[in-house]
Symmetry: C2
Subunit: 229 residues, 2 copies
């Protein structure tokens, strides 16, 4: 116990998690109804207080698992939010993370348990406190990151098609991309494995499945290869 520290105030510290998912051609984020006062019942990001025995990222992992049923998701820190009046109940300093969720793994039983729903990222209205800012910052960081690192795969099932992947990037960047240019670029990176089978759910002809080859990706990274989409 160090005497020096004693003169200073302590704070509640929480983590707030932006859970992002992708389905069809739109990006979704999970929103829950706040369970306690103040602002009980209002739309909110998933949050929780940090425990004394866990790191920040562990806390975020715990919260995401609690609300989605998925362990070990891809997490990235968005930043710390500590304005004096941001939480209208008490002074709470929050560390925000975004999580990339494969929506196929989401446990739908939890919809009721926590009163959650997936919302189109571009159609979010009011959220409590500064959660809209956190959401906007998270999406912004995802955009930048996705432009140099192939992290989008975390939003897709293990097997996905190129049209699906393109729709994902179009949703992230909120734009449209040229099919031929997109395919050329992504295939030239040599980090995808073409599968034998096809997804026939969205067309008669069917689109070949691909998988992300993380081993190849890591090798290329080490050789200083620069990815950009």
């Amino acid at each position: 116990m160090n005497a020096f520290y004693l003169g200073y105030e302590k704070f509640y510290v929480s983590v707030d998690c932006v859970c992002l998912g992708f389905k069809g051609s739109t990006l979704y984020t999970l929103i829950t109804k706040r369970k306690f006062e103040p602002l009980i019942g209002e739309d909110s990001l998933m949050g929780g207080f940090v425990h004394p025995d866990e790191n920040l990222e562990q806390a975020a992992t715990r919260v995401v698992a609690e609300y989605t049923g998925i362990e070990g998701v891809y997490l990235e820190q968005v930043g710390a939010y500590g304005d004096v009046g941001r939480d209208t109940g008490e002074r709470v300093i929050s560390v925000a993370y975004y999580a990339l969720i494969d929506m196929e793994l989401f446990n739908e039983d939890l919809y009721e348990v926590h009163d959650t729903r997936w919302h189109n990222v571009n159609q979010i209205n009011t959220l409590i406190f500064d959660h809209r800012v956190i959401l906007a910052d998270a999406v912004e960081i995802l955009r930048k990151k996705a432009a140099n690192r192939p992290i989008g795969f975390n939003l897709l099932p293990e097997k996905f098609t190129l049209p699906q992947l393109q729709l994902l990037y179009e949703a992230i960047y909120n734009t449209t991309l040229d099919k031929r240019n997109f395919r050329k670029k992504i295939l030239d990176m040599d980090i995808l494995e073409k599968q034998e089978d096809k997804d026939k759910s969205s067309s008669k002809r069917g689109a070949f499945y691909y998988t992300f080859n993380k081993k190849k990706y890591d090798q290329l990274l080490q050789r200083g290869y620069y990815f950009s989409l």
Copy 2:
């Protein structure tokens, strides 16, 4: 007072500041000797505990002013660091910022007051706790940011020369740049104002001074102009 919050633990929250400066052709960072136990006397970033009545950025501004004598520096958040054992005294969650300092404004009286010194960023050895990681992360973020936003000017005096500016970018990216290409690119952005007078300190011929035109820069930003260096 909300009953719900009461069940949770509170934490010490500090800010740690990476003060970056530039002189000659090298990037410097300010390092201080820690003033209290544990690890008293060891090399450390500038830090301080957050006060109940201030935001995180205000805390960082306060700490930077305390150690440099400069108010209102350019600040950017690096992230939150909260591993359980990171501070070997108590559990402290730290929010890190980097500050871009015009070294000409630095108050040298403070060298003694706080036992500080400027060190070449590339020649930092051991720092306490996770401060080396914080420093590395800060420089990394600066590099990325400097590539799309002309923030380097915050490291230079109001009037600077193009050779100086080039040396700055070479220091940030740790590389060498072609003089003609660099000048063309930066002048084409149309955010610099050529002055009448020259800096004769580094050559007989002298190099023209320039100033950064923030108004023009903001206009271009609003028009969606994309900067990149």
